[in-house]
Symmetry: C2
Subunit: 374 residues, 2 copies
Amino acid sequence: MTDPARATVVPVALGSRAYEIVIGADLIAAAGAELARRFPGARYAVITDETVAEHHLDRFTAGLADADLGYSTIVVQPGESSKSFETLASVVDGVLSARLERGDLLIALGGGVIGDLVGFAAGIVRRGMRFVQVPTTLLAQVDSSVGGKTGINTRHGKNLVGLFHQPSLVLADTAALDTLSERHLRAGYAEVVKYGLIDDPAFFDWLEIHRGEIFAGGPARAEAVARACRAKAEVVRIDEKETGPRALLNLGHTFGHALETATDYDAERLVHGEGVAIGMVLAHEFSARLNLASPDDAVRAARHLAAAGLPTTLAEVPGGVGTVDGLMQAIFQDKKVKRGRLTFVLTRGIGKAFVADDVVPELVRDFLADKLVG
Amino acid sequence: MTDPARATVVPVALGSRAYEIVIGADLIAAAGAELARRFPGARYAVITDETVAEHHLDRFTAGLADADLGYSTIVVQPGESSKSFETLASVVDGVLSARLERGDLLIALGGGVIGDLVGFAAGIVRRGMRFVQVPTTLLAQVDSSVGGKTGINTRHGKNLVGLFHQPSLVLADTAALDTLSERHLRAGYAEVVKYGLIDDPAFFDWLEIHRGEIFAGGPARAEAVARACRAKAEVVRIDEKETGPRALLNLGHTFGHALETATDYDAERLVHGEGVAIGMVLAHEFSARLNLASPDDAVRAARHLAAAGLPTTLAEVPGGVGTVDGLMQAIFQDKKVKRGRLTFVLTRGIGKAFVADDVVPELVRDFLADKLVG
């Protein structure tokens, strides 16, 4: 077990909303002591889903009990469908039933769905309560648990409803990833690769070498999580509310969200990280088509993702992705639209991504149409 | 019609979230031009309820059309029951269906329910859109439209879910109050009186003289609204998130909310301002019982509120207010509870209110028990 004192700590420097990301093995069991030290006198509502509860809830609450902390638990259905108004209302009701007060905390024990849902609930109960992220998936550890984006889905698209609400602490237990399926580990890995592709070619090089060790659970895993978190923390520090540079983190996400919409958020067909993997390759290929980047970089990015077992082409999505009209409609409903022009993250090569806010929709349509036939 | 250039403007000095409250007669008809000037290029979703729509919606949208502004309308059921997750979800859905983008604005045309609901929706659609308050009740003009508190109710109590989200503009049309019932005008007047009772004895004196003119719609009405807004704006400026002095605005509200809970938020029996009127008198009487204030001040406050036609005693609530246990339970669920001690606004006399965060619950219970029998 990692002694929390020896874990890696990544600070997120956001002034009065600053917090720390603690990264290490077996932090779930040690969380009670850590929370008692950081939030004296507080009580907790631990919110998780049935799948995560099976693997981690008992160990987590045993730690709370050992530290004499008062807590309630709320268990929701697993899966993207819990990012709904209905589940949000039921979580809020559970927190109010537990009579938590303003100084108490919510705990999001789970993957990105739980983190987004619980962060949203924390942001609106009593007009804002504190919360702790305990991400149990690689995706959540390197992306969604850091930065304060919270939200739910609607029939109009993903994450169109929510708010910015920073956690007070993130505890990333790298040993928890051993309970993930290979597929979900891969999906999270797509977001790790993203940080290399955005602006850190040296990290991309390092990933090409250490991919095996990261998947196997060696020391490179914690290092990869820490480097990803540091990269994200820096972007969030500069642009907390995504008015500018933070949009870089959406590399691959506009295409990715469209693919998730096209597959009805059906995790059997496509999970978020897989959509992002394909989306990042598409972003590189589209950039090459606009003569912004060398096609070789798109090939190199695709090769690394494919080697990790991730899909990199539209053809690999089971059941297909529908028509170009459907994809364009999803892209337009995505929130990164300004006065009819599309905001896209494009790239000049590996580690050279940039935000373009004037992409002509017809060029995207032509590109996708070609990809759909080819 | 008031020329907006000649209307009274009260600034709310909140740095990057600063905005103006514009107060004058017939601003609803003039709103289109005002919006076009302030938010070039924006589109609007006008959200109102059926009752307000009947009185004001056509005039309002005619002004938008005259100014060539694009808009959609969303009309919800009138009444407190619209402050629910269900109605929130339907408003959010309407805004997304209208394809409003991040730079566009929501407009809350109505009373406190509409303002709280629309402000909440604006705060969460696309993780935060701008909105304009167009309060059509006295209550909303002098209280809920200013300061950024938004929220909905749950079975656990009033306003326990919501967020702080400041409007970008408030347009308070004092002529709109002519469509209010006498009862709702009175209820709003309770919140006007509150500002005198909190810290402005001269304003209370002025109200004792000008009450008739305010109700009749003379120049004193706009002055009363402006003075109340100035008082609220100053408190909000000092303490936007209610970590301290802003709690003063809750004078009469802890008791008032308990009475609203006890009457099931049934507007036939008790509206918010009536609860606040009784609550303010109770706060003065309770303060007198604690030897903090002279009983004469409680009598003077009660006399002025009663002269305005407001209830000032528990006995005046139709159907009664239930048991002391029920009232205490509602008080405990109110959000102003810290570690078992109650936070109450008490007073040392007219215009001398203060926040006490260590009120012993048993003293409140004994006081209420006596009030219930007597």
